[in-house]
Symmetry: C2
Subunit: 344 residues, 2 copies
């Protein structure tokens, strides 16, 4: 119950580090050697027994060593962890590869693979949210066969296009009129307010507006619908998880991969991380999602102009090298933010 004294903390730290390193339950003899304290195994056993009472460690079976519980990990990452400073080469690798080039989806994909390569775990990056983005411009181009190409420019790096099926062919000039109209009225407005206005006007004044307006609005609305539903993420390096021995049974993996495919739950979890300022960590069952029971998630938000656009992170086994992963996730988020912010 009382606060953990220094020795107990040190032992928990040593135990956790050792267990993270080689995945075997740690016994008192090993720990006594490991911790650097001049203590006999018997003494260590006494301390460990206390830690067990506090629910910080447990033994897989009667005569095995101890492994950290979720609470043990929590305490470890919150107060005991000494994060490694990043190696310069890792930072450089990240910086070199996160030069913005092309659209933002491509960038998120690189970020995700970089994360997974550097950490040897699964990397995940949510696509930028458009909620507070504003509409820069809309363009319509005629295609053949009663189709129209709609292009939605949200920012320099964020363009969405969508092919609309219409009830007749439109000419270039006519479409130009529509887009001019929309641009005049809505350019610079926030996407969701644009959409709300459009919907309202469509409903209320359908009769009063001329045919052109209606068509333009219906089109614009369809495109916006596409753009808004785009809550999504990019995952890379799932296969790395198949190397972790704690996840290495087919049923666990299956649940995990199904959740990746399903996306909904993972997205829900990632959305929770948008709030936090810096690195956030979910350990094992803390996430509240069963398929992540044996996993931890380390995330950090990325921003443009101080506004959080999304989060990136790493999914791996609970027993991951936090002291290495945390700074990597942190740095990646910073570098990605830097890449997204328009310089000069």
């Amino acid at each position: 119950m009382s606060e953990l004294n220094e020795r107990a903390q040190l032992l928990l730290k040593a135990l956790t580090e050792r267990y993270i390193r080689d995945g075997q339950p740690v016994g008192s003899r090993t720990l006594a050697r490991e911790a650097g304290l001049k203590l006999s195994p018997a003494t260590v056993r006494n301390v460990i027994a206390d830690l067990e009472d506090l629910g910080l460690v447990r033994s897989p079976h009667t005569s095995a060593g101890r492994v950290p519980t979720v609470q043990g990990y929590r305490l470890f990452v919150d107060t005991l962890l000494s994060v490694k400073p990043l190696e310069q080469e890792t930072v450089e690798e990240l910086q070199e590869n996160l030069e913005i080039e092309g659209d933002s989806r491509g960038l998120m994909e690189t970020a995700s693979s970089l994360l997974s390569d550097v950490t040897r775990l699964a990397g995940v990056v949510t696509l930028p949210r458009h909620e507070h983005a504003s509409l820069q411009r809309v363009e319509f181009l005629p295609l053949s066969n009663r189709k129209v190409l709609a292009i939605l420019v949200i920012s320099d790096t964020e363009v969405q296009n969508c092919i609309l099926n219409t009830e007749r062919d439109y000419g270039a000039a006519e479409l130009q009129q529509y887009s001019n109209f929309l641009n005049e009225q809505f350019a610079g407005k926030e996407l969701h307010s644009v959409r709300a206005t459009l919907l309202a006007e469509l409903r209320e004044t359908r009769e009063h507006l001329n045919r052109m307006m209606t068509t333009a609005m219906t089109m614009a609305d369809k495109v916006l619908g596409e753009a808004e539903k785009g809550s999504d993420y990019v995952l890379a390096g799932q296969t790395n998880l198949m190397d972790c021995d704690e996840l290495c049974n087919v049923t666990t993996l299956r649940h995990l991969f199904e959740a990746f495919d399903e996306k909904r739950e993972i997205l829900g979890l990632l959305d929770q991380c948008v709030e936090s300022e810096g690195v956030q960590i979910f350990i094992g069952e803390e996430s509240g999602y069963q398929m992540l029971d044996e996993c931890s998630l380390v995330t950090a938000p990325y921003t443009v102009d101080g506004k959080v656009l999304g989060v990136l992170g790493v999914i791996g086994p609970t027993r991951m090298a936090y002291e290495r992963i945390i700074p990597i996730v942190d740095a990646t988020a910073r570098i990605l933010s830097a890449a997204l912010n328009p310089r000069d």
Copy 2:
């Protein structure tokens, strides 16, 4: 060796069907009952011994029943298989969901998930190849921050866009000039010839052309480069493979999933299927790729205007229900082709 007599064929068929059904090596007693012939187990054993000499079946160990070898499966699918006619509801499900709406990538994604849902295996669809596609139109739109949005219209259902970093800002009018120029010169030409011409002209006459042309061409070339390298595929339902007991060990799965991520090898294999007219099947090691040793691949090409644009198919364990899978793949390819072909 002599031709297989009818009885041997019948037994091989029964054996394969039975093995596909429940995954256990089939013994002579079971087979004698199964085949419907009035034969004693001993007789069956004799026949089976011949099949084994021919390399069509093998036993996992001395005193187990027999399972088909790759050659056995080959013979089975080539000459013994009685394909099930598709259930009407499956066809309807496919047809309803493969209505074209939006761009072709979306369509391929639906096709892929449909395949995986209906077969309970992994579905794969290659994206349409652009090699013989022709350029319908190019458009450039100015963005801020020294960026230009290039849009490449290939067909009604195939649009590609790409954000170019340029060395200065361009105005709308100027860009319009460029695209007009390119459209006049290249609209309707095949993509790769457009590209070749561009490259050649760029090299040879760089000095003679005015600045505008050069810029326009460089831009167009960048976009085309993007468009051409786009040999890619969409995969769905990988997790289904985790249910197949023959693939259910982590190392096999890892190799497989790594190959899926890598894409190169799988693409190579899929490209080989472009040639064939109809359904094509690779069984186990026939594919030549080690990670597919325990897998079979059933593919069929999809076409527009009689030209093959790509292939779709199903990846599953060697022991899959061919008589059900083959017609599904076949039908899906037809329906997808129909959806892509401009009607009316």
